[in-house]
């Protein structure tokens, strides 16, 4: 069961997600050790595979470093739910086959520690702890297809 890690913060930037002092590598396992380090030094310890990050507006703003997505994927985070995403980060997520869930008001709808189940295609978050289901706008089909293939390059390769 995926657990929610809620940060009531807007503008969580890529420097917080993966600080530049670790950009001297592009190894996802190495980057994963420092995921969200400048926001919450304990995040990696707390995060179990499949867990979900929940944040406010403009998640992933700042640098174009895809390392931010790789560190989140490397830490085996299941999903990021945010009120809104910064443009380059959002695009990088889809390119990497990682689903960014846009949900206005998320930090007030989901509590820290809630158990979540997510249906990506239907656009439903089932909050088991609060016993409620929350709708979100699912990604369009073309983006879902990229994610299902595991990312843009894999998608391009398969189409050929």
């Amino acid at each position: 069961m995926a657990k929610a890690h809620v940060y009531k913060r807007d503008h969580v930037n890529t420097d917080e997600i993966i600080p530049a002092r670790y950009l001297n590598t592009d190894d996802a396992a190495e980057l994963a050790k420092h995921c969200m380090e400048d926001l919450d030094t304990d995040f990696v310890k707390k995060c179990k595979p499949g867990d979900v990050i929940v944040c406010g507006d403009d998640f992933g703003c700042g640098s174009s470093r895809e390392h931010a997505v790789w560190s989140i994927q490397g830490a085996k985070v299941g999903a990021v739910i945010a009120h809104s995403f910064a443009r380059i980060f959002y695009r990088n997520c889809i390119d990497c086959g990682f689903y960014p869930i846009e949900l206005p008001g998320a930090v007030n709808k989901i509590n820290d520690g809630d158990e979540l189940e997510i249906d990506y295609e239907k656009g439903v978050i089932n909050d088991k702890t609060q016993n409620k289901s929350i709708q979100f706008n699912p990604l369009p089909d073309f983006a879902l297809a990229i994610i299902k293939d595991g990312g843009l390059l894999e998608h391009i390769k398969r189409k050929k």
Binding site: H11, R21, N24, S64, R65, E66, S84
Partner: protein, 420 residues
């Protein structure tokens, strides 16, 4: 209904007669910028997916800059991967150490930016090149890989915001203050997914260097791109400088183009601004914050590391001493040489500064001026996020070069107008 410059460029690049905001366009890419942090992973991806090719060896510019020269073994490995690939592929415009500079200062300076083109780069500040009436935006490594191999990329045409700049900048106020003011007004996501078009009479008084400072920080408002129309100043900068193709197409926004947001900045009322931690939108006028003690001053970056900026700093430091650690980082080798030839290095040395090789360096917390916990840095750079220049407990204050220099002299935030 007319189109904006950004829309016209997308129509051309997508082979359409017209486009509207929200349209998806598969655009032909005219130029790609590659550096040492985001390109090596893109190269690895291309190899892994068996599409290890380059769409055009003359439409890719490669320069290591972030950890340049390599700061440690791991970054040396990144440089080695970049170097091996650039040589193996026969990339025509490869700028290795000695030629390498901060990418967004280097590409325009070396004549790789043409009006009307679609330019992408593996760096968020790629929006800088919009100062030349080009569409230019930052992308991640996967998009970079796809662009390198295919020369194409899909885009959603952004809605445009228009910022009309009027009035003459007063002494001590620079284009940095214009963009800090715009970001202060609309916030760090105020232009999310949008094009930021800057127009108005004040533009005519700004050099290309000063204009690049404005478009450089479009991303700090969340913008997809920043763009400024072509004029005689653009032409003068480009003449004799362009490498390769000399022709370019000038697009102008139609009078009846539509904008999702319009705003006017009366630049004659602006004062030097300092963006407080930890967002570029936290601008305060210097009069309200002068006196706050600093530990370091950083002069450099793709925002304000060009020769004009160094001249402004030297003008204030001449005959004075700095009271805090002050690091001057000319953004490219040409700027470095120019500053040396103009005698600026003597001024910096005599004032007690250290002069670095061209690098992104400490701007992104790489090296060459990292901050310890509790330290404060006045900086001419573009971001003041938590941990941006070092310890997550350090603080970065963004300002124009004159404010930074005056603050270096006093060792605390200082009004540059007292020195001009």
């Amino acid at each position: 209904m007319g189109m904006t410059i950004t829309e016209k460029i997308f129509a051309r690049a997508g082979g359409k007669s017209s486009v509207r905001p929200g349209d998806l366009v598969n655009a032909k890419i005219d130029m790609i910028m590659c550096h040492d942090v985001t390109t090596p992973p893109a190269i690895s991806m291309l190899k892994e997916h068996d599409i290890d090719r380059v769409f055009d060896t003359e439409k890719i510019v490669v320069t290591p800059d972030h950890f340049q020269p390599p700061k440690d073994i791991k970054s040396a490995e990144l440089h080695k991967r970049l170097d091996t690939w650039a040589k193996a592929k026969g990339i025509k415009y490869y700028y290795p150490l000695g030629k390498a500079g901060v990418c967004h200062a280097l590409l325009p300076e070396q004549g790789h930016i043409r009006p009307g083109e679609v330019i992408v780069g593996g760096d968020s500040h790629t929006c800088t090149y919009g100062a030349f009436a080009a569409f230019s935006t930052g992308i991640g490594s996967t998009d970079l890989a796809a662009s390198i191999a295919t020369g194409q990329l899909w885009f959603k045409v952004p809605a445009s915001m228009k910022f009309t700049l009027t009035g003459k900048l007063r002494t001590g106020v620079y284009s940095k203050d214009i963009i800090l003011e715009v970001i202060r007004r609309i916030g760090t996501d105020g232009a999310l997914y949008r094009a930021m078009e800057f127009v108005g009479p004040t533009i005519k008084s700004l050099s290309m260097e000063a204009r690049m400072t404005i478009t450089n920080m479009a991303i700090e408002a969340g913008g997809k791109n920043g763009i400024i129309g072509f004029d005689e100043i653009t032409k003068e900068y480009l003449d004799g400088r362009l490498k390769g193709e000399q022709d370019y197409t000038v697009y102008e926004s139609d009078a009846d183009a539509s904008y999702i947001h319009t705003d006017t900045v009366d630049c004659s009322t602006l004062e030097p601004l300092v963006a407080f931690p930890h967002l570029p939108s936290n601008g305060k006028v210097i009069g309200e914050c002068a006196g706050l003690a600093m530990d370091q001053c950083y002069i450099g970056s793709c925002t304000n590391g060009r020769i004009e900026d160094l001249r402004v700093v030297a003008g204030i430091l001449k005959g004075r001493k700095v009271n805090i650690r002050t690091i001057v980082v000319p953004a490219t080798p040409e700027i470095w040489k120019q500053a040396m030839n103009e005698g600026l290095f003597d001024i910096f040395y005599d004032a007690g500064c250290v002069i670095s090789a061209p690098t992104c360096g400490a701007c992104l917390g790489g090296f060459m001026g990292i901050l310890a916990a509790g330290e404060k840095c006045i900086s001419t750079t573009n971001r003041n996020f938590v941990g941006r220049m070092g310890s997550p407990k350090s603080e970065v204050y963004l300002a124009n070069p004159a404010t930074a220099a005056a603050s270096a002299v006093e060792g605390k935030l200082a009004d540059p107008r007292n020195y001009l």
